[in-house]
Symmetry: C2
Subunit: 403 residues, 2 copies
C-alpha cells in the first residue's frame, strides 16, 4: 500500500469502491479529529464460508485498520435469533452457544487472512441485547415508529402484497441499530442491501443522544460470470479457502471489465494506483495475472502466488503446444472399437473400468471433442488416427495399422 | 342472591349484561367440568379512583366468585410501562415500584367493597413479563403478525391517517395476551373497548398449545346523564368512595330507562329477579330508592343505606313543602337590580362577592330557574315578588315595595 497521508487522501482511500457514504463531510470531520475511530461491521452467526464477495467489506475494514482505526467484527448471535428479514422469507432455527462459538472460530481463521488480528475486536451482540431484558426491549421499540420501519423496501412490498410480517421482524432493524449505540460507533459498514438497517443505527444514535455514525456501503460483487452476484449456490465464486491454482485459473477466466471492478474492490490499491495501471497499456492477461497473484497472496502467501502463476504458465503452454505427445500404433479392425478400450491400450487409463470412469466424468477428448458416453466407439480401420486427451495434460496419438 | 343452580342458570347469571361472549358454548363446556375456573381481569397500575362504571366488570368478577371460581385481579405494572394505546395518544410516564404498590393498596381497599378478598388473587404481570427477558420478548413478538395487529381499529385508523405508531405499542396486545398464557386463564373479561386485546389472548393461548380462554366483555356504563360514558372528567359519575347521601341523591336523579340498565349492571340480581321487578308495577321512585340502597350497601353498609334513605326523605319533604320560608321586603326601583345584590340583601349570602360566587356555581335559583350569570338582574318595580333558593335548602321570598 502506498502511503496515504492527507485527510483527503485518507477519505479517497476509504471511499474507494463504496456506493453510499452518509455523510462524507461527517467522515471527514471524524478523521480530522485524529483519534482512532470505532468501525463496526455485523456478521451473521451461521456457519461462514467466506468467498471473494464477502471480502469486499472485510477489505474495507482492513483499510480502516491500516489508517489506525479500531475495527469491530460483530457477530450477531442475538439478532441471528430473529433472523434479518432482509430479502428472506423464512426465519432460521436458533443456533446453540457451541455452534456460535465454533462458527466464530471459523470466521476468525478466514477473516484474519485479511484483517489484522491485533486491531480487530470480535464481539457478540448478545452481550448488550441480552442484557436489555423485557424492559429494555420495550424501551428500544418505543424509539421508532411503524411508518419508518415500513419504509424498508422488503417490508413495504410484503405488507402491500398482504404477505405475513411477524412482529419480531420489525424489531430486527432496531436491535442491530442498538449495537451501534452500545458500541458508540463512528462508522458502520455493510453491503448495499443493508443500507436501511445502517441508517436506522444512525437515527437511533441520535435518539440516544450520541453523535450519529457514518454509514458506508459497499457494492455486492459480481461473480465470475460478471452478471450475477457472487454466491456459492450459483457456483460463480472464488472461495477464501480454495487452492492457489484454482483461484489463479478462476481469475484468469474473468472479463476485462470485471477485472477492473475486482481491482477496485478486491485489492488494496489506491484509486491513483488503479488509474496508473489502466493507463499503463499492459496486456489484459498480464493484468489478470497480477490481480490473481494479489488475491492469492491475501488468502495464502506470496510464494503460493508465484507457484500458482508458474503452474498456470506451464499448463497454459502445454495446452497451446503439446510437444511431447506419445504415438501409439494399434491393430486395425473393420469393426468399430470401444473408446474405453482404446484409451486403455494407449496407456491413458489403468484399466477398461478406469477408462469408462474417465469418459463418464467427461474427461476424455477425441480430436478435441468430448466423448459423451462410455459406449462411444471409434472407426478402427487401417489408417485412422486420433488425438486422445485425458484430463488436462495427458495426450496420446493413436493410429490404427494393419499388422 | 337467589340460588343459581343449573349450568344454564349459571350461564344466564354470568352472561347477564354482557356484550360479547366468545364463545358461549366454550364457557358452558368449562362450567360443566365442575372444577373452579380461573378468571382474569387486567387493571391499569395508575392511581385508581373507582366509580360505578368500573364496578360493572368488578361485579362480574364477583359473580364468578359467588359460583366458586378463582378470580385474578391483575395489575398491569409491566404493560403499564408500555401504556395501552387503545384510544390514547400519549404514553404515560412510568410509575415507580412504590407508586405501584401504593396504588395496589388503594385498589384493594376499593375493590374489596365488592370482591371477596378470600377468593381474589392480586397479581402483577411484571412477575412473568419481566422474566421473559430480551429473548422471551422476541419469541413472543414472533407469535403474531403485523396485519393481525393492524386489524385493531385504533391502530388501523392511526396508520391510515399517517399518525405515528411506535413499535412498542404493537407489543402491548401481545404482552397483555401473554398474561393469559402465564395464568392459564379460562375466562378474561373487560370493557367492550378491550375486545381486540382479549381476543389476542385467545389466539395466543392456542399458539402456546393451551385451551383458548373465553372472552366476556361488559358495556361501558352511561353516566348520570344517560348519554355519555361515566367518567370523572365529565362529572357524571358515582364514586365508590362517595358519601351515602351523595350516592342516594345521584341515583334518584337518573332516568327510568337508565335505572333498569343500572339494575342490570350494578346489582347482583338475576335476570329473573330484574324481570320480576319490572313486572311488579312499583313506582319508579320506589325502585330507584331500592337501587340506591343496593349500591350504598355495596360501597358502605346496610345501615348507611337506611340512613341515606331517611335523610333523602327528610330533604325531599322539606323541598316539597318549604314551610319556614323567610319573607323579605325590599325597596322597589324602576331600574332592574342585580340578583347578587338582592341575594345579599335577602340574607342568603354574606356579601355581594359571596352571592356572585354562589351564582357562578349555579347554586342560585329564581322561581326554580337557575341564574346563569353573575350579571343577572331582576325587574325590581313595586309589587314584583320572587322565590329565591340558594343551595339545596335555603329559601327566601323577596317582594319589592314602594316605601
Amino acid at each position: 500500500m502506498t502511503p496515504v497521508k492527507t485527510i483527503d487522501e485518507q477519505l479517497a482511500y476509504l471511499a474507494k469502491g463504496s456506493v453510499d457514504l452518509i455523510e462524507k463531510a461527517d467522515l471527514k470531520a471524524k478523521l480530522q479529529r485524529g483519534t482512532p475511530l470505532t468501525i463496526k461491521v455485523g456478521f451473521d452467526p451461521t456457519a461462514p464460508d467466506i468467498h471473494l464477495g464477502h471480502t469486499v467489506v472485510i477489505r474495507k475494514m482492513r483499510h480502516f485498520q491500516q489508517l489506525g482505526h479500531r475495527v469491530i467484527f460483530l457477530i450477531g448471535d442475538f439478532t441471528g435469533m430473529i433472523g434479518d428479514p432482509t430479502g428472506k422469507k423464512a426465519t432460521r432455527p436458533p443456533l446453540t452457544r457451541e455452534e456460535i462459538e465454533a462458527n466464530a472460530e471459523t470466521y476468525k481463521r478466514q477473516v484474519f487472512k485479511i484483517l489484522d488480528p491485533d486491531t480487530t475486536e470480535v464481539r457478540f451482540n448478545r452481550e448488550w441485547l441480552g442484557a436489555l431484558g423485557s424492559d429494555g426491549m420495550i424501551k428500544l421499540a418505543a424509539k421508532y415508529t411503524l411508518a419508518r420501519i415500513l419504509e424498508r423496501d422488503d417490508f413495504r412490498k410484503r405488507f402491500e402484497a398482504h404477505q405475513p410480517i411477524a412482529i419480531h421482524e420489525l424489531l430486527y432493524p432496531l436491535a442491530q441499530a442498538y449495537d451501534s449505540v452500545a458500541l458508540k460507533c463512528d462508522v458502520e459498514m455493510g453491503g448495499t442491501d443493508q443500507l436501511f438497517n445502517l441508517l436506522v443505527g444512525r437515527d437511533l444514535m441520535r435518539e440516544y443522544g450520541q453523535e450519529p455514525q457514518v454509514v458506508l456501503t459497499m457494492p455486492l460483487l459480481e461473480g465470475l460470470d460478471g452478471v450475477e452476484k457472487m454466491s456459492k449456490s450459483l457456483g460463480n465464486y472464488i472461495g477464501i479457502d480454495e487452492a492457489p491454482d484454482q483461484i489463479f485459473g478462476k481469475v484468469m477466466s474473468i472479463s476485462d471489465d470485471l477485472m477492473w471492478k475486482y481491482y477496485l474492490l478486491c485489492t488494496d490499491l489506491t484509486p491513483a494506483e488503479v488509474s496508473e495501471l489502466r493507463a499503463s497499456g499492459q496486456h489484459p492477461m498480464e493484468l489478470k495475472k497480477r490481480l490473481a497473484k494479489s488475491i492469492i497472496q491475501d488468502f495464502h502467501s506470496a510464494d503460493a502466488a508465484e507457484g500458482a502463476e508458474a503452474e498456470f504458465r506451464r499448463i497454459f503452454s502445454e495446452r497451446q503446444t503439446p510437444t511431447d505427445i506419445e504415438e501409439k500404433q494399434l491393430p486395425a479392425s473393420d469393426e468399430p472399437q470401444l473408446l474405453a478400450k482404446i484409451v486403455t491400450l494407449a496407456g491413458l487409463a489403468e484399466s477398461n473400468k478406469d477408462a469408462q470412469r474417465l469418459i463418464a466424468q467427461g474427461g476424455v477428448l477425441v480430436d478435441d471433442m468430448k466423448a459423451e458416453t462410455t459406449r462411444h466407439a471409434l472407426d478402427a480401420r487401417a489408417g485412422r488416427s486420433y488425438l486422445l486427451k485425458v484430463g488436462k495434460r495427458r495426450f496420446a496419438r493413436v493410429t490404427f495399422t494393419s499388422s
